[in-house]
Amino acid sequence: MSRQIVIPFGPQHPVLPEPLHLDLVMEDERVVDVIPSIGYVHRGLEKLVEKRDYKDFVFIAERICGICSFIHGMTYCHAVEGVMDLDVPPRAVYLRTVWSELSRLHSHLLWLGLLADSMGFESLFMQAWRLREHVLDDLESTTGNRVIQGACKVGGVRHDVSDQKLREIVDGLGQLEAGMQDLTNVFVHDDSVKHRLSDLGVLTEQQAWDLGAAGPVLRASGVANDIRQTGYAAYDELEFTPVVETAGDCYARTVVRAKELFTSVDLIRQAVDRIPEGPIDMKVTGNPKGEFYARSEQPRGEVVHYVKANGTKNLVRFRVRTPTFTNLPPLLAAMKGIELADVPVVVLSIDPCIGCAER
């Protein structure tokens, strides 16, 4: 009965930090179909691997994304170390774990802030970013930079962190935890937040799994899938349980990320308690030959780095499958049937990172 119209959404939109364009097919106020288009920031980064030394490429791999940069660098190193069959010293493995969890903390706090911003809750946005600043300070004082840490290298890490500094970080996180408790209290229990997010953009468990959702989007739909369970880095020696929610709506995705903050703090504590003494890197000689798929859990979900090498110092192929790329089809499914005013919040609920997705 009603007439269909197409409303363009993005690539410039107040809620989008990065260019994603969606053509929303509307019937009155309701979205009936969505056609995405990306390609505004495709850099062809994967091709560059043919011109750079595989050891130097870690700096470029890290710059795929500005938020989850450390984990990109680490996964690239895992892939190259997998090809070359290197056993990285345990202290380096633990330091990588600590930095990954700090990255997750800062990314989740950033996202919670952006979510609050997308629903017009400005003061909550400021509170989330105020806490994030402490995590960034920890990262900068141990690695040398706030977001592009540059701390990983093939065969280890570039900087050691003294045990005293690690203790200080853990003590600081104790105080931060109280602040995060106050913050997540608002996200989880506040009526206006709940009202805005509940029953919005629902993905059932079957839909999320079949469409290839990853990370918090998948866990919010009731699948206990966390790549950290595969035991890369030091996660096989640390204890944690994946955070799972069953509702599959925007509220569930928020709750998953809010609770993961505390999992991360707990993992950092365990890692600092168990970190062994010893060297932080090893000498890497020769060139890789072979191929390897490495996976890690990023704040946004599972990332896959594939490396193929032929025995020269330049790799043949480097391929990254980022979480946002695989979360696009679930997003389209989640958007069917929602109202136009809800589109920004639902788009944000998958934590889109288009720079990652297009590389």
Binding site: I38, H42, V88, N225, G231, Y232, V304, K308, F325
Partner: protein
């Protein structure tokens, strides 16, 4: 530190759709479809994961410019990977549910990652790189 087992199985192009359908029936999730140019041939790898984190790869090898069938009838979300392979490698994918017709990525040159566009990586690559540095 654990490393995941690399279970890579090379299959024929004709077996692709039945094998993918079998993975779907077994309840696996499509993790990624990747393409690589190796010695002039395109290696397309379909990666799956089951609920117990078993990571499995099925690989087909096709010549440049080949036509491959779409796996979107089994996995609805696979269209993003298949459009990407079309835009970057110049392979034709038939039967996609959402076909962008080559407008998924905006690239300066058509099919930038295709076999023909790849520069030769030789042991003398170092010399070339040095020269490139100096010429710039």
């Amino acid at each position: 530190m654990k490393r995941e087992a690399q279970l890579i199985e090379t299959i024929e192009l004709g077996d692709l759709l039945p094998r993918v359908e079998r993975q779907k029936k077994a309840g696996d999730r499509l993790v990624a479809i990747s393409c690589a140019v190796v010695e002039g041939e395109n290696e397309i790898t379909y990666s799956f994961e089951d609920r117990a984190h078993r990571f499995l790869h099925l690989r087909i090898v096709v010549p440049p410019g080949a036509t491959i069938p779409s796996v979107t009838p089994s996995y609805w979300g696979a269209f993003v990977y298949e459009n990407e392979i079309h835009d970057l490698y110049g392979l034709t994918v038939t039967g996609m549910n959402v076909d962008f017709g080559g407008h998924f990525y905006a690239t300066k040159v058509p099919y930038p990652f295709a076999a023909a566009a790849s520069p030769k990586v030789t042991p003398a690559g170092k010399e070339a790189q040095e020269k490139e540095c100096l010429d710039r």
